[in-house]
Each structure stands twice: as structure tokens, then as C-alpha cells.
């Protein structure tokens, strides 16, 4: 923003501030808000970027500031209202002496954040709580949502539990050292994608289709162009007519090129129709509403089974007739399920379904693109895959790779939602056409209607077993609704037929899967990636079969679970590159069974209407995708004797910059804070496929391990040659015999001698290990109201060596919270025309503090021989057993199987209530 001189902070606020005087963190500003402007954007225009946008509707609390000391949502406050008042943001929370406010210190000590996008607002709420309010944190934090942590670390902070470990040279790995950005996070200095002001910035807004399927006959722009401040309008006629997929993978062939940046056919309600760039966001939004679009409505189909039927409306009519709307189908069989079922004493067959859900990372999608003075284009964006985004942009615009720079600042959550290029392209188009910087920030509504979701899948499971519980046959039939576009459709379908079935040894397995185009919002990558959906089905079915046979659910699983040395296979005969780098499923089951048996958690509520039950489910994860995945890391010793580490991988709250630094520090016998890390920048870091598919540790972390070992060898090799003694690293020095040579000194000597203290390594993912998670749940359900209360939650995770125990625990807790939301509260509701009716946080309902019980988390004692330093995939898989464990507990409590997610009160009521 271009501030006028009068807009700069003025000395000392006066007692009686004038009407246009705003006191922000103790400084007086004279400014006139734009008509209609809210306090949130007014503050951000003054450079107060600690104030975040999560929803702009008063639901999430990310924009919480103090007005005269009282917390308010700055998005719900016309800026005018703050005139003459004192506004305090996270930047003003700490006392001026440079120390931290006790709440900041508490959040730092408990590392009460992951992506940290909610942290500023969370702390502003917490710092204003009275002692009485602190007694009831679920009530007190009702208005502050966190999608990453599961709230446990936040509770720890508020209870004064500080668990960060001291950063000791050589002992970083396995210690709960804090994030390198911890201080910047709690002070509000951490910068996210949109936290920047640029001279001449234009704002982009998109008109989205109200129709699920329509051909665009014409778009009238005259009225929109007449809106003051509008710079340009783009429709399908203005974009390169080049097909691509918005999904990001190393191998672009795994996703269909079925999308245009802007198209003359819209295939779901919410699809982009046109883009407007203007001097202000408000002008761009006003102009979007004045575009006159003439649609020819086409027949639409929303159900994938209906979409497969002959005569169904065709979503992509350029595809061959015989395939219809089926984008991908996968089939496989090992042994003979027909024989398996014939030899079974009991057979369970049922159709289960899982719902479409949205990631709800608190930082919405957004990008800023501009042409630099270097003649190149730069894209600052919220992505999990900057290098793939760069490739796609080069493809779309015909640019040379050397002319494109894509990078992230801090990313406010991803969970797979940002494994997608859906904001960068239009920003770049507009920047190239106007010659000015262009920014586009999704609204929360756009996240729901115009981004991606978890694939809705319907799974028919048929299981057969002998009387003693031994499985004789497993058959799966999966129909996945990929929506209007096929990104991630075949990969999630493949995953759905992988891990959950592989987890059980059985000689006869058969799988059939169909990913089908419909006129729904497209599916995409989402933590668990297809296997969450079928884990729900299979884990429920295993319980049902156990019930038929009168076998305990734990015993049933132990009888059939995969064991070390087993051939790892689902239903394909091909050999795979998956192997047991370690195995801790048995430990996880033992822990969960023991913890549930021991009790703990809350007692059953009083009243005979409450029924109580327990449930368990397991999940197996292949550590990394079957598709190619690669990652690079490079290290340099710097003249001052500290290290520089560059990693291509994105940090989105998963903690990779913390753990990568720990891996390197450990191998270099240094303190973690001796290592400066840059990441996710196509100019500054080596190539990385992206942070998705559980690769942050096992691929990027592996590259860091190799680079750090090479760095160590480079230093020790030179030191040995230089001193002639045996050498070892000791933090910021090398010990050579009896001599201690500082690394700064060694650097000076080595550089004069022509030695390069540098290393670069690349990691490719093969072999892949396996990880396991087991969830146990005890719950109560109210037979009349359908209300479910989780009374006790326990989780066993076999994720190898813990690089950072507190961070690993946080990943598991966040995963569980997300699983609880999927199972119980989250729901995307559509009308008969395929329009989402609840695209807002207040009625989409991600779990709040009150909804997430504490979970006892146990880590199996395993050390992986494949992953870096004994670690394996850490953050993704814990979500998979959560929903089936809850459903199994519900079935145990009620004697009724609820096979469809979410487990809503009205569905439970419909089956249980006496008067129903």
C-alpha cells in the first residue's frame, strides 16, 4: 500500500483523539477508512499483518484484536468504529521492553501452534481471559478455531505446561526443540502469503458459476468495466487455450489434462467463469457482480452411479463414448475370492459411504504475481508444491523455466488442499497482461465451492472368514465421485484399494474401483488420500464380521493383521517397492487395548438414555506415494561458522523446517539454531516434488540427511587434511586431536585453499516403508437426541523414531481432531441443483476446542531402517482409524451399524429413537 505521509504513525496519542485518529498498538494514525471497510483490512493496510483473515464472518477468530482492551473480531467491525479508540493487535501484546507477554511465553513453551495462522487471534483471546473464564476453556475459546493442533497444545499453554527441550549440540534429533520461527509466530512477525504490501497492487476477484453444468454463450463486460478502478476483465476467450490438471504430482500423466484456466463450459456450481482485476478488492467484487453471463443450461448429474448409467449427461464429451463418465477404473484379484467365500463360515457384506469434506486450512488459497525488474515473473503463493506449480505455469503460458520464480512464505495449513494449482495461474495471467502486481485471496466461501474436497466414496465390502476368525476372502468395490475434474482421482482410487486391504493377510482378495466424473466440486488430495475412505469401510466390516463370529475386535485384528515377513500386497500381482523398514502394529494394538481396559477419560453421563460403547480400528500407510517423488537439499558452511540449509519442501504447519534442521544438526553435532533454513523457493532451494503423500520426512528429510552427511564429510575431510589429526565436529568447531578449530576459522582457511564447504544431495523415494496407527474410542450416545460424546480417546502410532516428539504428538492430535470432525460434525450440504447451501464455517462445523477430547498418544518403540535416522511418515496416517473407531464404538453402544458418514444426530435419531 502506498501510504500518504499523514498515514504514518504520529507521536504520542492525545487524551482526546480526533475523529479520524486511530491508536494502533500505542501509535496514533490519522487516516480515513474507505467506505464499507472493516477494521481488519484497515489494520492490514497500516502494515499490521498479525491480524489474519480466516472467514470474514466472525466464526474463526483469526482476526481477533482488542478494542480498548476487549477482544473483538476485527472483521465484524466497521473501521470507523475504532476511531478515537485504542486497538491492540498481537504486535502490541508484548511489553515494550522486548520481553514477551506471559501468554506469548506460554504458547512458545508449549509450541501451541502448527501452521500458526490462528495463533495471533488465539493469543489475543487467551490474554484477555479472566481467571473465571480460564476455568472453562471450551467456552472461552468457542470463537477461535484451530485446524492443526487438535487444541491439546493450546490447552497445555493455558495450563502453563512448557515442554520445549534445550537445544544441545548433537542431540537435536529426538528432542522437542522449538520451531525456528517460534518467536516470530508468537510476536506476529511471521509472514504469510498475503502479508505484504506492494506498490501498484491490483486485486483479482472471480465470478463463479451458479450452475452445475452450462455452456457460456456470451459474457457482457460493459457494465463491469464501467466500475471505477477496474483494470481488466478476463474470460475464457482471453486465456491460453491449453489443457492441464490443477492437481500437482511429479508425473503429470497421473492426472488428466481436463481443465482450462477459464472455460466456455462450466461443470460444477462454483467453477470460475471470469476474472476481474481492479484497484481495490471491493471494486473487483462489485464488477464481478455486474458481468452479464448468458448461460445455456445443460443437464447435470451429481451421483456417480447415475453418472455411469447409459444416457447420463456427459461431463467431458470429448472423451470416448465407451468410457462415458468413468475417468478411471482399477481391477485386481489375487487368489480366488469365489473360492474364499465358498470356504467361509461367515460372510459380511455391506455398503459403506464416506462424505465429502473440505480441508479448511485457516489460511485460504492465495497468490501474488508480478513482473520483476529482473525481467522474470515472481509468484508468491500458498502451495504445497511450488516446483510443480512453476512447471504448470511454464506449460500454460509458454514461459521458460528460468523466467519463472515461485515461492512460499509461511503457509497457513494445507492438508492436501494446496496440492493443487488454483490461484497462481490467474494472478500470473493478470500480471502479464497489466504489467502490475496482482493478488488474489480466496474467500472462505470460495474454499468450499471453488477449491477441492475429499473424494466422496461409496464402498461395498464383502468379507469371509472361518469360524476361528481367519479371513478367507476380501472383496472391495469402490465408487469414487471425483466431481467435474479428475485431479487426484486415479491416485486416490489406487490408495483406496491399497493400505486398508493390505493391512490384512488373506490369500484371496479382489478389488474393483471406479472414479467417476459428476457435476460436483472436484475431489482433490486430502490427508489420508483415498485410504481414509476405505479404511472406514473395511474397519467397520471387520468389526461386523467379528460380531457375527463372536470374536473380540482386537482378537479378530490380531488374527489377521499383516506381520513382518509377509508379502505386502493388496489385490495386485505386481511386486511393489514397499517393505517393512520397521513394524509396530502389535505394540499399537496392545497399547490401545490396555489403555481402554484401564479406564481413564470421562465417566458415562448419568441417565439411562445414554448408551456406552468402545471401538477400535487400525490403519496401515505406505510411507510415500507409489508415484515418483524426489527432493533435494543443499548445505553451505557460512563464513561465520554457521550453516545454511536449503530444502525445496514446503512447510505448511507440518513442522518440516523444524525437523529438517534437527536432522542436519544431529549429523553435524551442532545445535539446531546454528542452522538457518530456507525452503520452498524455486530460486533458492533445490527441486522438490512437493510436501504431500507423507514425504516431508521420508523424502525431503532423507535428502537433508544425505546433504548433512556430505557436509560433515566435507568439513572433516578438509580438517583432517589440514591438521593431519583425526577430527570430529563439536557444535561450532572441529576437534582435531587436542586442537579445537572454530568453524569460522576453518572456513577461512579452507576457502583460501580452494575448498568448497558445500554439499547437495537428492533423494528419490524407493524403497518405501510402512507405518501404522491404531485408534481406540469409548463414547456415549444419547438415544433420544443422537448426541455423541467421546469419553476416552487413545491412539497408538508406529511412526518410527520421533525426530521431534512434541511435534509428532501434535501431528497425531491434529489428525485425530480432523478425523473426529469428519466422523461427527462436518458436512457439505447441497441442494438439488448441486449448489452448496452451507459454505461457511458457522454451519460447516470444524471441531472447536469443546469438541476435541484429549487423546492419550502412545508411540511404538521402532526404528525404521529405510527412513532417515529411523523415522518414517509422521503426520498423515493418524486420521485413518479415527472415524471407523468412532463408528465401531457407536455400533457397540447401540447394537446398530451406522455405515454412512457423518454420524449426525438426526441419522442416529432416525434409527434409535422410540418415536421415530
Amino acid at each position: 500500500m502506498n501510504h500518504t505521509p499523514a498515514d504514518q504513525p504520529q507521536p504520542a496519542p492525545t487524551a482526546d483523539a480526533p475523529r479520524n485518529g486511530y491508536t494502533i498498538n500505542g501509535k496514533l494514525y490519522f487516516a480515513e477508512p474507505q467506505p464499507g471497510q472493516c477494521l481488519r483490512t484497515f489494520l492490514r493496510e497500516r502494515g499490521v499483518f498479525g491480524v489474519k483473515k480466516g472467514c470474514d464472518q466472525g466464526d474463526c477468530g483469526a482476526c481477533t484484536v482488542w478494542l480498548d482492551g476487549t477482544p473483538v473480531h476485527s472483521c465484524l467491525m466497521p473501521a470507523f468504529r475504532a476511531a478515537g479508540r485504542e486497538v491492540t493487535t498481537v504486535e502490541g501484546l508484548a511489553p515494550p521492553d522486548g520481553s514477551l507477554h506471559p501468554v506469548q511465553q506460554a504458547f512458545l513453551g508449549a509450541q501451541a501452534f502448527q501452521c500458526s495462522f490462528c495463533t495471533a487471534g488465539m493469543m489475543m483471546t487467551c490474554a484477555a481471559l479472566t481467571d473465571a473464564q480460564k476455568e472453562d476453556m471450551p467456552q472461552a475459546l468457542k470463537g477461535n478455531l484451530c485446524r492443526c493442533t487438535g487444541y491439546r497444545a493450546i490447552a497445555d499453554a493455558m495450563h502453563g505446561r512448557a515442554e520445549i527441550a534445550e537445544d544441545i549440540a548433537g542431540e537435536a534429533c529426538g528432542a522437542s526443540v522449538p520451531s525456528p520461527l517460534a518467536h516470530a509466530i508468537v510476536t506476529g512477525e511471521a509472514r504469510y502469503t498475503m502479508d505484504v504490501a506492494m506498490e501498484g497492487m491490483l486485486h483479482l476477484k472471480v465470478l463463479r458459476s451458479p450452475h452445475a453444468h452450462a455452456r457460456i454463450r456470451a459474457i457482457g463486460r460493459d457494465r463491469a468495466m464501467a466500475v471505477p478502478g477496474v483494470a481488466a476483465i478476463f474470460t475464457w476467450e482471453d486465456v491460453p487455450r491449453r489443457l492441464y490438471s490443477t492437481a500437482t504430482h511429479e508425473d503429470h500423466l497421473v492426472d488428466p489434462d481436463d481443465s482450462y484456466m477459464l472455460d466456455n463450459v462450466v461443470r460444477f456450481a462454483g467453477q470460475r467463469v471470469a476474472a476481474v482485476v481492479a484497484e481495490t478488492e471491493a471494486a473487483a467484487e462489485a464488477a464481478c457482480r455486474l458481468l452479464e453471463v448468458e448461460y445455456e443450461i445443460l443437464p447435470a448429474v451429481f451421483d456417480p452411479v447415475a453418472a455411469m448409467a447409459p444416457g447420463a449427461p456427459r461431463i467431458h464429451d470429448e472423451r470416448g463414448e465407451e468410457r462415458g463418465n468413468i475417468y478411471a477404473d482399477i481391477h485386481g484379484e489375487i487368489g480366488s475370492v469365489a473360492e474364499g467365500f465358498a470356504s467361509a463360515d461367515a460372510v459380511h457384506e455391506m455398503t459403506y459411504s464416506t462424505s465429502r469434506v473440505q480441508h479448511v486450512h485457516l489460511e485460504t488459497h492465495g497468490s501474488i504475481a508480478w513482473q520483476g525488474e529482473d525481467g522474470r515473473v515472481h509468484i508468491r503463493t500458498s502451495t504445497q508444491a511450488p516446483f510443480i506449480a512453476k512447471q504448470k505455469l511454464c506449460h500454460l503460458f509458454g514461459l521458460r523455466p528460468s523466467d519463472v520464480h515461485v515461492f512460499t512464505e509461511r503457509v497457513g495449513g494445507g492438508f492436501g488442499g494446496k496440492q493443487e494449482m488454483i490461484s497462481e495461474d490467474l494472478c500470473l495471467l493478470a500480471a502479464l497482461k497489466t504489467g502490475r502486481p496482482v493478488q488474489w485471496e480466496f474467500t472462505r466461501e470460495e474454499q468450499f465451492i471453488g477449491a477441492t474436497t475429499r473424494h466422496q466414496m461409496t464402498t461395498r465390502v464383502k468379507l469371509g472368514a472361518r469360524r476361528d476368525g481367519t479371513l478367507t476372502a476380501i472383496e472391495l468395490h469402490v465408487v469414487s465421485n471425483t466431481g467435474a475434474y479428475g485431479g487426484h482421482a486415479s491416485e486416490t482410487l489406487g490408495a483406496s484399494l491399497g493400505g486398508p486391504m493390505t493391512a490384512y493377510r488373506c490369500p484371496n482378495k479382489k478389488a474393483a474401483g471406479y472414479a467417476v466424473y459428476t457435476n460436483m466440486v472436484p475431489g482433490g488430495g486430502f490427508r489420508g488420500y483415498g485410504s481414509s475412505q476405505t479404511a472406514f469401510a473395511i474397519e467397520c466390516a471387520i468389526d461386523e464380521l467379528a460380531r457375527l463370529l463372536g470374536i473380540d475386535p482386537f482378537a479378530m485384528r490380531r488374527k489377521n493383521m499383516i506381520l513382518p515377513g509377509d508379502w505386502i500386497e493388496s489385490a495386485w500381482n505386481d511386486p511393489s517397492d514397499v517393505d517393512f523398514g520397521s513394524y509396530g502394529l502389535d505394540q499399537c494394538l496392545d497399547f490401545v487395548e490396555g489403555a481402554l481396559a484401564k479406564g481413564g477419560g470421562l465417566p458415562k453421563p448419568e441417565g439411562e438414555e445414554w448408551a456406552e460403547g468402545t471401538g477400535v480400528a487400525l490403519a496401515m500407510l505406505e510411507c510415500g506415494p507409489p508415484t515418483e517423488h524426489r527432493s533435494g537439499a543443499q548445505m553451505r558452511l557460512l563464513p561465520d561458522g554457521s550453516y545454511h540449509l536449503a530444502v525445496g519442501s514446503t512447510e505448511m504447519g507440518n513442522g518440516s523446517i523444524t525437523s529438517h534442521r534437527q536432522i542436519a544438526a544431529s549429523l553435524l553435532s551442532a545445535r539446531a539454531d546454528r542452522i538457518a533454513i530456507v525452503n520452498a523457493d524455486t530460486d533458492l532451494a533445490p527441486y522438490d516434488t512437493g510436501t504431500f503423500a507423507s514425504t516431508g520426512t521420508v523424502v525431503a528429510g532423507q535428502a537433508v540427511r544425505m546433504a548433512a552427511e556430505a557436509m560433515r564429510d566435507s568439513i572433516l575431510g578438509f580438517a583432517r587434511r589440514h591438521t593431519g589429526a583425526d577430527c570430529r565436529l563439536d557444535d561450532n568447531a572441529v576437534i582435531c586431536g587436542n586442537e579445537r578449530v572454530g568453524l569460522a576459522e576453518l572456513y577461512a582457511i579452507g576457502t583460501r585453499a580452494g575448498h568448497h564447504f558445500e554439499a547437495k544431495r537428492k533423494s528419490y523415494l524407493s524403497l518405501r516403508s510402512v507405518a501404522f496407527n491404531v485408534q481406540g474410542i469409548r463414547l456415549a450416545v444419547h438415544r433420544a437426541t443422537g448426541e455423541i460424546r467421546i469419553l476416552h480417546s487413545v491412539h497408538g502410532a508406529d511412526i518410527g523414531r520421533l525426530i521431534n516428539p512434541m511435534q509428532c504428538r501434535g501431528q497425531i492430535e491434529g489428525s485425530i481432531a480432523m478425523g473426529i470432525g469428519w466422523a461427527l460434525t462436518e458436512q457439505m450440504v447441497y441442494d438439488a441443483e448441486g449448489r452448496m447451501v452451507n459454505p461457511a464455517l458457522r454451519n460447516y462445523r470444524i471441531p472447536s476446542y469443546a469438541d476435541v477430547p484429549p487423546t492419550e498418544v502412545f508411540f511404538a518403540d521402532t526404528y525404521d531402517r529405510i527412513g532417515p535416522l529411523g523415522a518414517k511418515s509422521q503426520g498423515e496416517c493418524a486420521i485413518n482409524p479415527v472415524a471407523p473407531a468412532i463408528a465401531n464404538a457407536l455400533a457397540d453402544a447401540t447394537g446398530v451399524r451406522f455405515p454412512h458418514l457423518p454420524l449426525l444426530p438426526d441419522r442416529i435419531f432416525a434409527k434409535l429413537a422410540p418415536h421415530a
Binding site: 470474514d56 476487549t70 466497521p78 441417565g607 447451501v837 449426525l904 444426530p905
Partner: protein
Amino acid sequence: MKAAAFNYARAASVDEAVQMLVRGGGGAKLLAGGQSLLPALNLRLMSLDLLVDITGIAALRGIRVEGGTLKIGAMTRHADLLTSPEIAAHAPLLAKAIAHVAHPAIRNRGTIGGNLAHADPASELPACMLALGATLVIQGPSGQRRVQAADFFLGLYQTALAPDEILIAIELPALASGERAFFHEYARRMGDYAIVGLAAQGKPAGDRIDALRLVYFGVGERAGSCPAAARILQQRHSPAILAEAQAALAADLQPQNDHQASAAMRLHLARTLLARCVNELLGRAEASA
């Protein structure tokens, strides 16, 4: 998401605010706490020429007891109601209900007058007004008028307020000796809109409840009184009487089907709530419903 441009004016008095509304015609609207209006503006569900801020008018704030009447200024914030000893002593129903209104940051800004004028069918407070027999004091170009709560709430987001009128105060009869309040709501998740809620006040007398007012919310287009059920409960309590009262709810309530719950489930929950209410008001342990 950006609101369309609007102008903003602070009114120094109720008279001035009324004049601004009159001058502004349909394009002017009052801004109270703004916790419902601003989301609507941010989403561009509505746009306005002028917002008239009335929260600076001191006369519209505060809680006082005069005789047997509790007088609440329309611009009194939820957070102040929640901590007010007068409310706790004389309108405990309201105190119970406010704890369910949104969350703390919203309660720090939201006002009782703004809430009532918004007339959200899922809101707790209109139901409380009906259950408490509130009188709403309204000022417009032709002076003040007083409207009973039962005549104020007309339907979905609709009230008896004319576009140039201002709700300035709420008058509640203070809790009489022997009267007890009940408030409970079923929501899918803490802090959500209620699927069904019940605000009730009455005077238990042995096994009977006199002067009972039962008002449901989240059921139908506006808060709904259930006089038939209340009349039945004036008889001596028995399982049969309770069942009769529960059955009578069907005549008074018009529950809707939506993605939260079916009409049948809402009616069932309403009946469950009635049993809880009766047991609580009579001081009985909760029997199985």
C-alpha cells in the same frame, strides 16, 4: 470478501438517529453491535447507503430495576448482561440464555436490542422475551410506543419495527417469588445454532406448575409459545399429564425439515426438552423420557 461501500454516521441521540433513518429512506439502517449485520454486509447479502451507529448513545445502555420491572437499554451488550447481578437476580432465564449466545468476542460487541431487532429464528433471546412477557419500547418519528413481545416477532427476520423506528429498551417483569426459569438447547455442537431450544418460566406449586410459559426456538420461522401444553401442565403432575402435554406440542409447533434435523426429530426433541423442563421446575430427578 468485501462489503459494498457504505457511509457511516454516529448518532448522538435517539432523536438524531430517527432523523437519520427518516432522511435515509430505505437505504439507511441502524448499526448496533454489528455481529449479524456485518457478516451479511461482508457477504454482500445486503448493501446499504448509510449505517447509523447508535451504540454511542448513553441513554440506550444500562440495566436498572424500577419497582417490579427490569429495564434494559437496547444497546446493552451481551457480555454486560451475562455479568449483571440485576439480570442474575431478576431475570435468571436471560442469564442462562445469554451464555449460549455465540461466543465471547461476539458477546463483547453484540447487543440485546440488535439481537431482538434481527429476529433470527434460531436465536435464544426472542424466545426469552416471549417467555418473560417482555415489553419492547420503540421510538419513531411520531414518538414512543410499547409493543408486547408476542406482537413484536412476526416471522423469519421480521419484526413490528418500521424502517424508521428504533428499539430503545426492553422491560421485563422481575422474577416473582416462587417463579423458576428453565433454559436448555440441543445443538449439534457447542456454540452451534440450536436444533431445538426451550425457554420457560413458571411457578411450581406442589405437583403443578402455574403461570407456565413455554417458548421453543429453532423450531419454525420464529420462537413459538405453547399455551396448550402449558395449560395441561397446570394439572397435578403425572406421567399421563406429561405425555398429554408432550402430545399437545404438535398443535403449537410447526417444526421445519432442514439439513440439521427432520421435523419429526425436532418434535421429538421438543418433547424431550419438555420432560426435562417439567422435572427441573418441579425439582424432580430426571425420569426416563
